[in-house]
Symmetry: C2
Subunit: 379 residues, 2 copies
């Protein structure tokens, strides 16, 4: 069998920041990497052995790309799964497996999977046509989500009362009981082909109640041990049930009554694991490589408190990115900047992230606030 | 002024592993990197914006390469300094400065610099012709070193007694009193253009007395505080005296009477700092970038005990490299593999390194021994 250090060719579907950070780690193992992305200026463009411009949803493009490699992985779910299925039949290793990507691409299937497997999740109803909405058994307010292609808040619509029904999506969707949650939490778990499974310690997201936006990700969580243990067990149970090979990010809500509800899955490295680069013994990227190459999984222990801030394009600016405040931030100790190599900024575009590491959790949060106020991406 | 995150073009002279690890870090700052190296299969070949094949000693090649960038740095000293000097005159930022590379390229000038500046170093004599050797005032045994182009043990000859004189180098050289040393130690220091200076904690090299080879690098040192302080002060004093911009690695001997003697300087990232990637708050590569871009220098504190092992080509094998034992090593916790992407192995070629991190120093050393016995590069 080909070994991953040297002669095995790894293809990545998607050339964004997740692929970029995966490549940064793969360099340490001499992995030969090819990347497919529609954007010729994608963050991975200069860091791989071959960069191919092409559409991830096009059967032929994905199939032909896959025929040039020994193993395929993804950094985005929106890819042509039929091509992946065919490639699997022809002997290409596809991790995560095509059936898992198919499951996760469709939020309806994903929710049904949770239900069938007793994974706790918010009550939901599949909506095939606008008429279904009229007969919903879920009380207002509720959330309507498109079954497909929702991303970063797109494809989600809050229906507060009857008057909102007019603006509802008409495409296949699901509606979900409104969860009045206390915290958003996440666990990233990895599984290799031998069935070894390891979870990263649970992280919490800190909300800005004014902007209703995730401001920081904090690792590890300081929620009660039982909550952390339960969240970890849920994530492990999902990975074990679907027999994924690779990383699985499990986003969850902790509601005000203390119940954990699974929100969404992502079968790949995830924004909620970026702090692991500096904050844990192995990073999520190292762990993903180990999992897909069927190597022993690494130690996920936290080394310190780590707080991650997304660096987003400022509102009001669009065009070639200019970064302000980097020098000020570099004066703080334990602050790690990761820019994603994106040429153009636009409002709320993820242009990078910063991880702050500190033995004192409150100090780490304080520094993270300073980073957020100081580092600006304008044009 | 151009900022380093985005529009500034950095050129690196040399495309080996030091350049490779520098690029891995530079990715985080969106640095545009061009690399010049004579080997079209050099470790940096796939990781930069432009890779140019050409000789580092050729004036025109270096000059033309330098004209395409805003800033030049090196990962090897053996480069054409006249071209660098001309480029400096024409406004290209060259860090380390050409005068420093010129000083360090010549071991004779380097030793004279130590003498003139009261930097403790082994007694020496400049040798211009074979006749000088006959009139040496240094007693046997002594070491003869070529003034130029010595590297990794090449260009060094031990003259134990008169009978060895016949085999002595005839090129310009120096001879040095034999130091019966207790330990080889090193301090890496960084200085930015504003004059800020920071040293990494001192490291020690563990010798294998049988093979007479550095086996491990251990960070931090457990030698007495006064020794560490003195070594650090010597390194800082040198950096401050020559006003280097960038990293300066200072290799020293601690002799059996407890004296520190400076052996050699390297004005760039260095093998004795690789453990800083996982073992210190900032790595030597991050620090070099901060220094040459005149940013605030980072915190050099050790996070843990870190032991570094070089991964060398096995004797008896030459050709396309095959790595054995990686899976076994990945089972150990706190073990970080860095392969350098070299296609061909040969005996003692540096093919990678492994850093072992452990809160318990003895355990870290034990694991490093296991790594050394287990990881083999054959062909």
């Amino acid at each position: 069998m080909k070994s991953f250090y040297g002669d095995l060719k790894l293809g990545i579907l998607g050339g964004g920041q997740l692929g970029r950070m995966l490549i940064q780690q793969a360099i340490n193992y001499n992995v030969t990497v090819k990347v497919l992305d529609p954007d010729r200026e994608a963050p991975c463009r200069r860091l791989c052995n071959e960069f191919i411009v092409g559409h991830l949803n096009d059967y032929d493009t994905v199939y032909n790309f896959g025929k040039k490699v020994d193993m395929l992985t993804i950094e985005i779910e929106k890819v042509n799964v039929d091509a992946l299925e065919q490639l699997e039949k022809e002997g290409v290793l596809v991790y995560p497996q095509s059936r898992i990507i198919r499951l996760i691409q469709d939020k309806g299937l994903q929710k049904q999977f949770f239900k069938e497997n007793d994974i706790p999740t918010a009550e939901f109803q599949i909506i095939s046509s606008p008429e279904d909405l009229q007969q919903s058994h879920i009380p207002f307010p509720y959330i309507q989500k498109l079954r497909r292609d929702g991303y970063d808040g797109k494809g989600v619509y809050k229906i507060a009362d009857e008057s909102y029904l007019e603006g509802a999506f008409t495409e296949p969707s699901l509606i979900e009981r409104w969860v009045d949650f206390e915290k958003e939490i996440a666990v990233i778990v990895a599984r290799n082909d031998e069935g070894e499974i390891k979870a990263f310690p649970m992280v919490e997201m800190e909300f800005n109640p004014e902007a209703n936006l995730v401001e920081f990700l904090i690792s590890p969580s300081t929620l009660p041990f039982e909550v952390q243990q339960e969240a970890e067990q849920i994530a492990i149970r999902i990975a074990d049930t679907i027999k994924i090979v690779g990383l699985l990010a499990v986003e969850m809500f902790l509601d005000k009554s203390g119940r954990i509800l699974v929100n969404e899955l992502a079968p790949r490295p995830h924004n909620s694991g970026h702090q692991s680069i500096e904050g844990n013994v192995v990073s999520q990227f190292e762990q993903h490589l180990r999992a897909i190459f069927n190597q022993p999984l690494g130690d996920t222990t936290c080394l310190s408190n780590a707080v991650m801030v997304n660096v987003l394009g400022e509102t009001g600016y669009q065009g070639p990115a200019i970064y302000q405040g980097i020098e000020k931030i570099l004066k703080c100790e334990g602050v790690y900047i990761h820019l994603y190599g994106k040429i153009l900024t636009k409002p709320f575009r993820k242009m990078g992230h910063v991880t702050v590491v500190d033995d004192d959790r409150e100090k780490a949060i304080e520094k993270a606030r300073y980073v957020q106020e100081t580092l600006k991406v304008i044009a």
